[in-house]
Symmetry: C2
Subunit: 143 residues, 2 copies
DNA sequence: CGCGCAATCTTGATTGATTCCAGAAAGTAG
DNA sequence: CTACTTTCTGGAATCAATCAAGATTGCGCG
């Protein structure tokens, strides 16, 4: 787990000002993978006291633009943020309870980047979302 | 393009009552691939006159549950619906204008269904979303 | 060490999609 | 044709997210 000093370095490296809310948001995202915005706001407030949701939204946008965090939007859920950036990985979403797990790319660095017909689109990224049942819901259903 | 009689047959086959709003929604989804809810409501109202948005939401949910339409939720956009069901295909979303195009599965019937580590999840579906620039935005940007 | 600019945060209102609710209407089976 | 059940209508409510204006604060510079 990175330290506050690491987060500060990351912010400076991205030419972003180092502020209390930003360090708290960065820390919260690292501590709570796949957390939705509400959870992040709650975590930040636990750490700092009162913080406006607007600040959190703004910080998340800035961090996303700087590639310090990544935003994912699973179907049937609100936006979620995670700290793993730079590595090509995807997600499994549980159909029943909404749990999310990371999945490393199936076949290589960027296997699905070549669809059979690109319709003239210039593709720069492919995101894969697996749907299914997590271990807990799977056993609960089959029993 | 299927006819009203076809739509009626589809509804009866799914044990759903045949109502005017349902036929209109089914028709609208077939005529406007990847339409968002608002567009579908507008299309239905053009065809039938006043229809409550609640009815459209309800119908779309019923049709989705019956696998007569499919719901997709591209990042940064609202829910959209399409009529292609049963075939495994994915989507390209334009980063700039939000246009959506269909893409047949890259490597086979269900290529990405085998991640390197499934974390104990029971996976039954994989959805791939390609991000990039559509031909129009691509040329507009590079010029 | 203190100043000034510009980015950032606070507060509060607002939008927009979606859902909930109760009653009226309509489709289907018999 | 009748009755039952599903579906639709109309309106209010919820929730995430965005917008706007003014107060703060971080950071670079002298």
């Amino acid at each position: 787990m990175p330290t506050t000093a690491d987060f500060e370095r990351m912010l400076r490296g991205a030419a972003l000002r180092v502020t209390r809310p930003r360090l708290a948001v960065l820390s919260a995202v690292h501590q709570h993978p796949h957390a939705d915005t509400g959870s992040i706001i709650a975590a930040v407030r636990t750490a700092l006291g009162e913080v406006s949701h607007q600040a959190v939204y703004d910080v998340l946008r800035a961090l996303t633009a700087a590639d310090l965090v990544r935003c994912i939007e699973p179907p049937g859920s609100v936006a979620r943020y995670e700290a793993r950036v730079g590595d090509n990985h995807h997600h499994i979403v549980c159909r029943s309870c909404g749990a999310i797990a990371d999945v490393d790319c199936a076949v290589g660095p960027a296997p699905c980047l070549t669809p059979s017909d690109d319709h003239g689109f210039v593709i720069d990224e492919a995101e894969v979302v697996y749907r299914g049942l997590c271990p807990t819901c799977s056993t609960a259903t089959s029993s």
